[in-house]
Symmetry: C2
Subunit: 232 residues, 2 copies
């Protein structure tokens, strides 16, 4: 996987400020020579970085470095968990409940039979010790055979993908704002009727099977999301 490696190198160069003079990457020909790779690799690497919003290619002109305003924002287009979004920050969770049950009414959303067993997790998510979001998540037992309160205190994402070896694919997200009810407001330290930004998240494995569905109510004063929209 040469082009992902090259992308990693170039990204590191960008972060180190390597191209700050011109805000411009070397030309494709130069990179081919510098890194001893073919044009295929260079182009794939650049495409990868462009998707992540690190560069933008301009035909006839060059590939330019850009900086988007992701400071303190969560990337909507990331399937990784909060821990990956806020590196260098303290992410912790207060686990409200972890239980096992059948899918029941949630079967349609999960695209499984109503009898399908799952884990239901409720967590209060904290960023640097401050209440950040209230999470409700379902994990199909078929893919996540075991889940405990202890695991839920840490990163479920890394447990599922690093420890269980599940391969992440893609996720559908739906976002909207609404009012908090009294119970939600209480745990979030807000008042009933206050706004919340809600994200519904259906996560799929690389083979296209949904394994996790969740709904997260974010603290409206703390959570911000960013997204890079491309033309195409």
């Amino acid at each position: 996987m040469k082009y992902r490696e090259l992308a990693r190198i170039v990204k590191a160069d960008i972060d180190r400020g390597g191209f700050r003079q011109t805000d411009k990457l070397p030309t494709e020909d130069q990179m081919m020579e510098q890194y001893g790779v073919t044009r295929y690799c260079v182009r794939n690497a650049v495409a990868l970085l462009a998707e992540l919003g690190d560069v933008y290619p301009v035909q006839g002109s060059g590939v330019f470095v850009r900086e988007s305003k992701r400071e303190g924002c969560m990337n909507i287009s990331s399937t990784k968990g909060m821990s990956a979004e806020f590196v260098g920050h303290d992410i912790s969770s207060k686990v409200l409940s972890v239980r096992q049950r059948e899918a029941g009414d949630d079967a349609t959303r999960l695209k499984v039979a109503p009898q399908a067993p799952l884990h239901e997790v409720r967590r209060l998510r904290l960023l640097d010790g401050e209440i950040f979001a209230l999470e409700w998540a379902l994990y199909l037992k078929e893919f996540v055979p075991y889940l405990s309160k202890d695991i839920a205190r840490g990163s479920i994402y890394s447990y599922v993908h690093d420890d269980l070896g599940l391969v992440p694919g893609f996720a559908d997200k739906v976002m909207y704002a609404r009012k908090l009810d009294a119970d939600e407001a209480d745990v979030l330290g807000l008042a009933a009727g206050d706004p919340t930004l809600v994200v519904e998240d259906d996560a799929y494995l690389a083979n296209g099977r949904m394994f996790n569905a969740g709904t997260v109510c974010y603290h409206y004063q703390k959570a911000r999301f960013f997204n890079l929209a491309d033309l195409k």
Copy 2:
């Protein structure tokens, strides 16, 4: 541009229900033959559709059709305007004000000199006659030399790109929820303190120049956004 054309064809096939038996596209080899193109074209077309969330390729298995739940949702990753999101619906605008002024305090956001002239537009956006969002947008006069109340009543997006010929590039978006103030609530037909979903949108041309910055307050009971997050 053969691969975009192929993507268009395949997308049309999908929408027509052409692959419903198996939810699976023909293999790359089959498509190469069927459409008389090389593998390059097939792979690029599939990659395009995958980015749009219409299919997902599974190594060793095939390219599968998927349906995401975009019903009534706006795509966050689209740089096109509301009109493109809600085809078949009636999109209209009540123009509150269109005026020309210098960038001033907005110069940093727009990355221009404070003296740079711009158009400032305030619109109430209606979906099928119902109040949907309150928009405040700035367009640099350097790129948009003329803008009138009459133009603002229609699609500024199509005016700027179809009529003026500006080439869209990418856009940075930041989303969060907050409370409406009294004035905002009034025009949106809501109460002060009610939630709103706010989207800050910095739009760039293909050459990397920002030409438009806007902030839109969406009606929390009507606006929903969807996004497809990919692994990568």
